[in-house]
Symmetry: C2
Subunit: 432 residues, 2 copies
């Protein structure tokens, strides 16, 4: 069957930013290949922009630009939403679905906050809603979790899903530089935005964690159910202490299923050197998945950038276009499960506590007693006399697994103890 | 919609070996979950065995066993083929397709040798043929390459796709033991078969390379077009020399596209320590994919074993069953490309040549001249006087990229040179 003999799949693109421009470039440059793979030609019917007079990359044909989004959507079989943000992206996606078009989006914030509304609309209309690019950029992770692992039980996902924070932590680790300096360089090099809040505070990772948890556990997990702690408090001393104990610090998006329910959280964590995630450097992303039958899996690649994200978008475009051309539909939302989503206080993890104590006999006993009274048992202790100034010592304690709910009050008590001058940091240990 | 209100998807299993037993266990234990994910219950209508009287794992219900394969296949909507080998697996798969059933198989040897016949039959009958478990066991790689990366251009795949050989090479590397001893231990531990030929000679990896190349390059690549060299000649001295030059030896399945065509080959190679594949230990598999838009991706996990392989089979079962229950069909074979498949002589790689030479002035010049005359330029030279006995030295030469076609005659000439006592090994360097 010649691809040119069949009706083309009409594509509308909303938002020709960095990713959109790459999508247009690839759709144009690879037109014949994509037509052969789909079984029908792919035709861009228009590109929505608010202002058609703005100068754009020459790959974007001027005559394809339109500011009439309603007319554009109504002509399309497939709408690629790359505007980002909640509105008007949400309205336009719902509009596309209502008009019978399938949708491909990279909009993690929208999916994490309004996913169910969009999934239900797509399901009711019998169209596809694909979003591989919303999590970990170029890395195929949505499709593997949603389809390849659909016959398995996922127990836990540990993901490095934000390239900016991995770049910053990796530079701090490999070069021994402080946070502020690394962040400033990252901003100069374009690895961090001028306002890095969404990345460094973990909000971006939290949206991805919510999406991954929903897919992995077949139930709805909303963004406000994700505990979120960023990397702004991580010091070069924390990084050095991590190295000394055989760990690296990574910002992890964690989704895990326990007997009590589902826990989803984002926070920096000490990861042992031998863990595959410890070897993920620079702005790369990786998602480590623990399942009952398949065991341990890891998916590694670029988590951001125009071309990598466009690759993920186009993979979805090919799948959806195949359905439009030859019939069929991708998997619908799988949300049959209804496990409780647990608060962070219900989590149980190992901790590394760094503190400055008086350098005298009996101090370790006093500290150990405070922990023991809370049922927290110590696994290792390291003590550096002198490094914390005269008469003081730095004490680094790694605990066995302990309930998170007791931690805050324990740290309060440590701070109040006469032998303890300061609690420098408390970091979770994961991946052991 | 309640899953129990709709017609069940009737499943026939051919071959209840290790993987088949796990598939039955998971289908039974997770019945409700799978029904919710598919939108219809999955029912095993029978399990084909040649001899129903043989004692089996108690998870296999005796009354499901049948030796009447024709009757079993004719009842099924979905046939899971786990017999392995070419015949009668091929006949039964064609029989299933002819009767309108979709097929899930883990049979790499069959796909690599008779894939086109099976794909065409499935396409003509409008049924699915899924085979995630045929390559790299539990690792989702077939679906990502076939679907997630369908909008991208894959330039190269480097895969560790055979767990036995990775285990053997990893043990040789980390423990410094000789090949024979490690292989014997691997056989005792069950990591290698009593007859390890298919693994250690690279035949198993070659079948997977052919399948991956076909998917990546959208064209047919048959097993006999894959160059194949195993690991039986790798010595502990090779491993030590690799370590000294900052490499590890891995058996790689390589599929690459050059301007001249497509090259597919399996051979041991030196991989630099910093490459993500170098960190793949034990019997784990990993597939490293280089694409134009997504850049570098890696997929890591268990490549064999009952439960991991069953996970991949069940992922396919869920996808195919969704199509049976709700309509639609997975991607058909994409074979529109027709690039020449190049012989190994057309490949161009870097080499590390280890030889014993006379320990006297002028020897290096003589060796360099032989290489220069063939247009092969040297990148690094390391020489160890004494280690090769009195009056002799070990010379380790790493070349720049050079055409494979000149290599054999070059090695012949080196062997014939008066200054060269022996050429110990010639290994390709990949992943740089």
């Amino acid at each position: 069957m010649s691809a040119s003999a069949v009706a083309p799949v009409k594509i509308a693109i909303l938002g020709p930013g960095t990713v959109g421009t790459e999508v247009v470039r690839l759709l144009t440059a690879q037109g014949e290949d994509l037509a052969a793979r789909v079984g029908a030609p792919l035709t861009i019917v228009g590109i929505y922009v608010r202002d058609t007079s703005v100068e754009r990359d020459p790959v974007i044909p001027r005559d394809m630009l339109t500011s009439d989004v309603d007319a554009l959507i109504s002509q399309a079989d497939l709408v690629i939403e790359l505007m980002g943000g909640i509105e008007p992206a949400r309205t336009h996606i719902l509009q596309a679905i209502a008009s019978g078009a399938s949708v491909v989006t990279a909009n993690k914030a929208l999916l994490a906050s309004h996913g169910p509304e969009l999934y239900e609309a797509a399901d009711a209309a019998g169209v596809d809603l694909y979003f591989e690019a919303a999590v970990a950029g170029a890395i195929p992770i949505v499709r593997p979790v949603r389809e390849s692992l659909a016959g398995d039980y996922i127990d836990r996902i540990l993901g490095i899903v934000n390239g900016t924070t991995n770049y910053v932590l990796d530079e701090m680790t490999t070069r021994g530089l402080p946070y502020d300096q690394v962040l400033a360089t990252a901003q100069e090099l374009g690895f961090a935005e001028a306002d890095p809040t969404a990345d460094v505070e973990g909000h971006d990772a939290a949206a991805k964690a919510a999406i991954l948890a929903s897919l992995a556990f077949h139930q709805r997990v909303s963004l406000d159910e994700v505990f979120c702690e960023g990397i702004t408090a991580i010091t070069d001393a924390d990084v050095a202490a991590a190295t000394e104990s055989g760990h690296v610090i990574k910002l992890l998006a964690i989704a895990e299923r326990t007997d009590a329910g589902v826990a989803v959280r984002v926070h920096p964590a000490l990861v042992p050197h031998a863990h595959p995630l410890a070897g993920v450097h620079g702005a790369f992303n990786a998602v480590f998945v623990e399942t009952r039958a398949a065991g341990e899996l890891m998916f590694y690649g670029q988590g951001a950038g125009g071309a990598p994200t466009a690759s993920a978008v186009l993979g979805d475009v090919v799948s959806v276009a195949r359905h439009i051309a030859s019939g069929g539909k991708g998997p619908r939302e799988s949300n049959y499960a209804d496990l409780p989503v647990l608060p962070i206080s219900a989590a149980s993890t190992r901790f590394q506590i760094r503190m400055i104590v008086e350098d005298r006999a009996g101090v370790l006993a006093a500290v150990a007693e405070i922990l023991a009274a809370k049922g927290i048992s110590i696994e290792t202790v390291r003590q550096h006399a002198g490094s914390a100034g005269p008469g003081a010592a730095e004490l680094v304690i790694s605990t066995h697994r302990a309930p998170e709910r007791d931690l805050e009050s324990t740290v309060e008590q440590l701070r109040g103890a006469s032998a303890v001058k300061d609690v420098l940091s408390v970091l979770r240990i994961e991946g052991e």
